[in-house]
């Protein structure tokens, strides 16, 4: 049987003041994998490499037996081909598009943005499911932190990904909201049974989402 995640990554960063060496190897079958470590440990770098947004010096990434990256065999799928949704720490909602346009972004393959009324059944379904229907014509700057997170999740799910990458999804929210949204995400993930990697420095995230937890510091497993 193939492993769900098979990841080996190496990259060296040279800065004027310090150098940073990332060297990570992990195999996991966990549908809920948490990379846990302090900020600056290299977690976001790893997640962006998995998504294809940053290139490692040397590396191998297999997801469900499918090679997304293999520097030895010269395989390097573009982020568009990897079928992995990525939720950014501050959500990266497109500021010039409404909530509905953000959520529907991946359903329109053309060169130009569709109008504010453009929608699909999938978009409506997710807007409804995450209680965003009434906010559909709002712009990102008009949303609260919790609402913005739900838009980011809806936008990710509408693209029908095979896996979900979450970068500190609760860090931008206050304590009470975090609790409620953790439950909501927990529920969604169960329903979709979608593999997920979440990175966090918050032990509570580990307690709830960590089917398997990998601790990282200084670019390495500890």
């Amino acid at each position: 049987m193939t492993t769900l995640w098979n990841i080996q990554l190496k990259k060296s960063y040279q800065h004027e003041l310090r150098s940073f060496h990332l060297d990570i190897q992990l195999q996991s079958d966990a549908k809920r994998l948490v990379l846990f470590g302090p900020s600056g440990a290299g977690k976001t770098q790893i997640l962006k490499m998995i998504a294809g947004l940053i290139q490692p010096d040397v590396g191998l990434i297999q997801f469900n037996g499918n090679p997304l990256l293999d520097t030895q065999r010269n395989i390097n799928q573009k982020p568009q081909e990897r079928s992995l949704a990525y939720v950014f720490q501050d959500y990266a909602l497109f500021p010039h598009l409404t909530v509905r346009q953000n959520v529907a972004f991946s359903t329109n393959p053309s060169w130009f943005n569709k109008g504010k009324s453009y929608t699909t059944p999938g978009v409506d379904e997710w807007l409804d499911k995450l209680q965003l229907s009434e906010l559909a014509d709002h712009y990102p700057h008009q949303l609260s932190g919790g609402q913005a997170q739900r838009v980011a999740l809806a936008r990710a799910f509408v693209s029908k990904p095979q896996g979900l990458l979450l970068d500190e999804p609760f860090a931008a929210l206050d304590q009470n909201l975090r609790r409620a949204l953790r439950e909501e995400l927990q529920f969604l993930l169960q329903e979709l049974s979608m593999p997920m990697i979440l990175i966090s420095h918050d032990p509570e995230d580990v307690a709830i989402f960590g089917e398997e937890v990998i601790a990282i510091d200084g670019g390495k497993r500890i």
């Binding site: 947004l53 982020p79 950014f88 990266a92 972004f105 693209s159």
Partner: protein, 231 residues
């Protein structure tokens, strides 16, 4: 038609020609300037900053020097001029198309600089977020990059239009001053003053000032940072 109204109609022709020349020059720069600025903001290549300095040169060089270079290149004996003449029978010197090229080169840095700064100030994560949503790179440029950088580019575009409309030195050297054909407003003013036609000069100067003020007013309204932020 008396002499006076003939002069006035010449002024309107000069205005139309000025807008045509500046409009064409701006359109050329919209495509070239924005395209090259995007490459500069996203790609690393050898000699990039030297090339940047070269492309910015028209902003600091005297227009007459530029005009001279253009004459040397585009003239009957010039490398490009000879090629165009022998292959397609095109002659650019002393035509309004020649004026367009002069105006385009002089105003190029204004769009290039503004567009490069606008592209470089964009946060990378918006484009990254679009990539993982499985939208092609071309679509990302038109749906994310360009709309987010548009205000900065538009401000540069209007400044370039104003600069192109006011072009004098290079245009005079390349296109000359043929009324109705290559005589733009700024050149018409010079000719009127030289000929002692104060009334025509006054009218032309007023017309030019109004055009320039309108362009600057619009460009000021579009400058980044002028909108009231909504929190």
């Amino acid at each position: 038609m008396d002499l006076e109204s003939l002069k006035m109609s010449e002024a309107w022709i000069a205005l139309r020609l000025t807008l045509l020349v500046a409009g064409c020059a701006t359109l050329i720069n919209l495509i070239l300037g924005v395209g090259i600025a995007y490459l500069f903001s996203r790609k690393k290549f050898w000699g990039k900053e030297v090339l940047d300095a070269f492309l910015t040169l028209p902003m600091v060089m005297p227009p007459t020097v530029l005009g001279y270079y253009l004459l040397v290149l585009l003239g009957q004996q010039g490398v490009i001029g000879q090629f165009l003449k022998s292959h397609w029978g095109i002659q650019l010197i002393f035509t309004w198309q020649g004026a367009v090229i002069a105006a385009a080169i002089v105003s190029f840095p204004l769009i290039f600089k503004a567009a490069r700064a606008a592209f470089e100030s964009l946060e990378a994560q918006y484009e990254q977020a679009a990539q993982v949503l499985r939208v092609s790179d071309t679509a990302i440029f038109f749906r994310i990059t360009l709309p987010l950088a548009w205000r900065g580019i538009l401000a540069g575009l209007l400044l370039a239009f104003a600069r192109a409309a006011g072009e004098f030195g290079a245009t005079l050297m390349v296109a000359g001053s043929i009324p109705g054909q290559t005589q733009t407003l700024s050149i018409a003013v010079y000719e009127a003053v030289q000929a002692g036609q104060d009334d025509t000069a006054n009218f032309l100067v007023l017309l030019t000032s109004i055009v320039c003020m309108s362009v600057l007013w619009v460009s000021g309204r579009l400058m980044p940072g002028r909108v009231v932020r909504q929190d």
